[in-house]
Amino acid sequence: MTTTLSALTAIVLVNPVPWARAQMAFTLAFHIILVPLGVSWAFMTLIANYRGLRHSDRAALILAQRWSKFMAVTFAVGAVTGTVLTFEFGLLWPRFMGQWGEVFGVPFGFEGLFFFTEAIFIAIYLFGWRRLRPWAHFWTGVPIVLAGIFGSISVVAANAWMNAPTGFTLDSNGNVVDVDPIRVIFNDSMPWQAAHMLVAAYLVGGFLIASVYAVGMLRGRRDRYHYLGFVIAFTVGAVATPIQMGVGDGLARWVYSNQPVKFAAIELVPTTESDAPETLLGHLNENYTVSGGIPIPGLASWLSDPSTGKQTVVQGLTAVPPDQRPTVQQINIVHLCWDIMVGLGTLLFLLAVWYAVSWIFRRRMPQTKWFLRAAAVAGIVAVLTMEAGWVVTEVGRQPWIVYGHMRVEDAVTANTGVWITFFAVVILYALLGTTTILVLRGMGRRFRQTKGFTDHDTPYGPSALTEASTEAHADAGEAVG
């Protein structure tokens, strides 16, 4: 009896903070992979659709049609994981939502609007292939692209507000008494963060989809269908990469000016100094000394503000009391993820340069197998880069959930059973992830088995396919697997 009771107490008294944080991180990490597909895939589909109509390119049309079908699946999965997130805001962070919901929540109202619009036009575009007039059908795809852009900006605006909370007035008890929705949405961090995430969506979406066709081409499917699938997606990713470096640089400087603690964690700067080195890898010890890594003298100062160069003063971690900065472990996570993001991002940039140089000088994409191998890995690399960047901004904000106003442990639920829901969520998401991949593979296989398209499936009216192109399209399906 006593043992049962103490065992029960042990279960009941599990601190919800780390579990709530882990569950939120896990579900967001899952959802963020679907975001680029929801935001940028429609754009790429429309490029293929446009090419197909403009140049009577059947392979491009079939590519667009298949992409629209894959896109609908990832959108549906994103709807499920997004629904779970809306539950979690309340279930895991009720005190945060109770106090700040009226401010933080505002951008989500607009996000709901765009999400709705996106859902409707995805349905019209998806089911409109056979019977709508070709160009009218093309135009029904445009709202999907716009809704994706504005929807992601709205969500990021909410996250940016957590970094730069503005647009509200507090009374003497700390309760929100007045809200200025415009200032909430257009908070100081919003333009940089929204641009960074939006470009990331195109970058990751492009490389991720291109990697599927790179694998197909490595397996010898060098037909026009695969070529188009690769070139359209990879070009989008490659164009986004240098833009992303510029935007990222701007955002880093915003962090330098407005969230010095996060910046110090990124750059691993223990004490305030000028001529601060940029440390590649390495870690912070419990006594706030930096071990290992390759320090590049003065670079962190120089990058923070090139106009003052090495003289730029970088505020150190110890400039604020310990309870207002991340723990040493968190600081090391932030720094490592920063290095991963910048390092992998640079590799992607080099790959994009290779591709661009080949187009400029040879008027064709690189032909070597090594390029395709690199492109095949680039999809996963791009996802990792994005995840690392997201960890930097979230963990770097600790211990705050609302920067300077509310701490994470004051926001969390009182329910001590969160560790149970954490494991349930992990198991269910494993199931959901497997399902998604299996469904996409299954669709690819079915495309292949039907030997191209039957009349029933042909976009924009008939004209039987030749035997050769039928073979080519049949193979295309496999690539998706």
Binding site: A79, T83, F87, G90, L91, F121, L431, T435
Partner: protein, 337 residues
């Protein structure tokens, strides 16, 4: 202004029940369709019917949450703290449902098909039950004001919650059966028309019986709600009863039209009746809508969203509907490409 936002919230709840509810209800009929041979035909019919809109109806649920946490944050915090367990089960159920519905199509062997089919069907029943139980917990005044946690167990295991849960399952099953009759008739599938017609009649009768039982449950367990239902919400209760009875008569007589509309109005008027009965409270007898309301700026922003929705989403929705009715969007399930 908080009244206007409360009306919007109510409309979203009605829309979720009417559109999303049918998705869940279809899962209920999937669960009860019998063995793999006997149940194959109805299951195909169900799959065909909900395939194209797979999970998109959760948009309404997201909208409900957004309105709650922006416009009535104090009530939202109280609800999520108190009703943590049923809300968590509902969230997990939604994931399980989405995953297993698609999974069932992707796997070949019968054993796995049955396993994931069971997951889909069971979660389709679990989610509306939990939603109904949550509604019962709120309506019977078991969620305290002030962002406080109430009783974590009795807030959702109590007579009103059980009534709410069972009623929700029965109502969505009823709606789904009525829709499926209509779908089957459109496809000229006489066997399935008859199959779901019989089930719709049974479900309608069950909802009626639950309504009568509910009178006694609410009188004992949720006096404030009961008092509201028998006074200012009485016209709605009568409207719901008449529509429900009318729909039942049409179903029994196998009438071709009208049944769907009456069924929807019946369900909608019960939900609106609930809201009117607990007015002006969002958490009965402890927190009113106006006391829980966010500052004017936030409420204005939400109403702007609604106006924009009327300007953007409604025309888009009408376009979708018109194209669909004209047969310009041939059905082509997402997974059935």
């Amino acid at each position: 202004m908080s009244t206007a936002v409360a009306v919007v919230l109510l409309l979203a709840v009605v829309a979720y029940a009417v559109f999303g509810g049918a998705d869940f209800g279809a899962g209920f009929w999937d669960l009860t369709a019998g063995g793999p041979d006997r149940g194959e035909h109805p299951r195909d019919m169900i799959e065909h019917s909900i395939g194209p809109v797979w999970e998109a109806n959760h948009v309404w649920l997201i909208f409900i949450f957004v309105i709650l946490w922006t416009s009535f944050p104090e009530a939202y915090a109280s609800i999520t703290l108190t009703l943590f367990v049923p809300l968590t089960i509902a969230a997990l159920g939604i994931v399980l449902r989405g995953a297993s519905f698609a999974f069932r199509k992707a796997v070949i062997t019968l054993r796995y098909r049955r396993m994931f089919g069971a997951g889909f069907a069971a979660s389709s029943v679990l989610v509306p039950y939990c939603m109904g139980a949550v509604a019962g917990g709120i309506a019977s005044g078991r969620v305290p004001a002030g962002g406080q946690a109430g009783d974590p167990v009795h807030s959702w295991i109590n007579p009103t919650s059980v009534l709410g849960g069972v009623l929700a399952v029965a109502a969505v099953a009823y709606l789904a059966a009525v829709y499926l009759v209509w779908d089957a008739r459109r496809l000229s599938d006489n066997e399935m028309t008859e199959y779901f017609r019989r089930r719709a009649v049974v479900a309608a009768a069950l909802v009626g019986v639950l309504g009568v039982v509910g009178i006694f449950v609410l009188r004992a367990d949720a006096p404030y709600l009961f008092q509201g239902l028998t006074s200012r919400a009485l016209p709605l209760v009568i409207l719901g009863t008449l529509c429900g009875a009318g729909a039942l008569i049409l179903l029994v007589r196998d009438a071709a039209r009208g049944g769907r509309l009456l069924a929807v109005v019946a369900v909608a008027s019960v939900i609106v009746g609930w809201a009117v009965a607990q007015w002006p409270y969002i958490l009965p007898e402890t927190l009113t809508f106006s006391a829980a309301a966010a500052p004017t700026g936030t409420l204005t922003a939400m109403l702007v969203v609604v106006v924009l929705a009327a300007l953007i989403v409604v025309p888009a929705f009408i376009l979708l509907f018109v194209l669909h009715e004209r047969g310009l969007l041939p059905e082509e399930g997402v997974g059935g490409a």
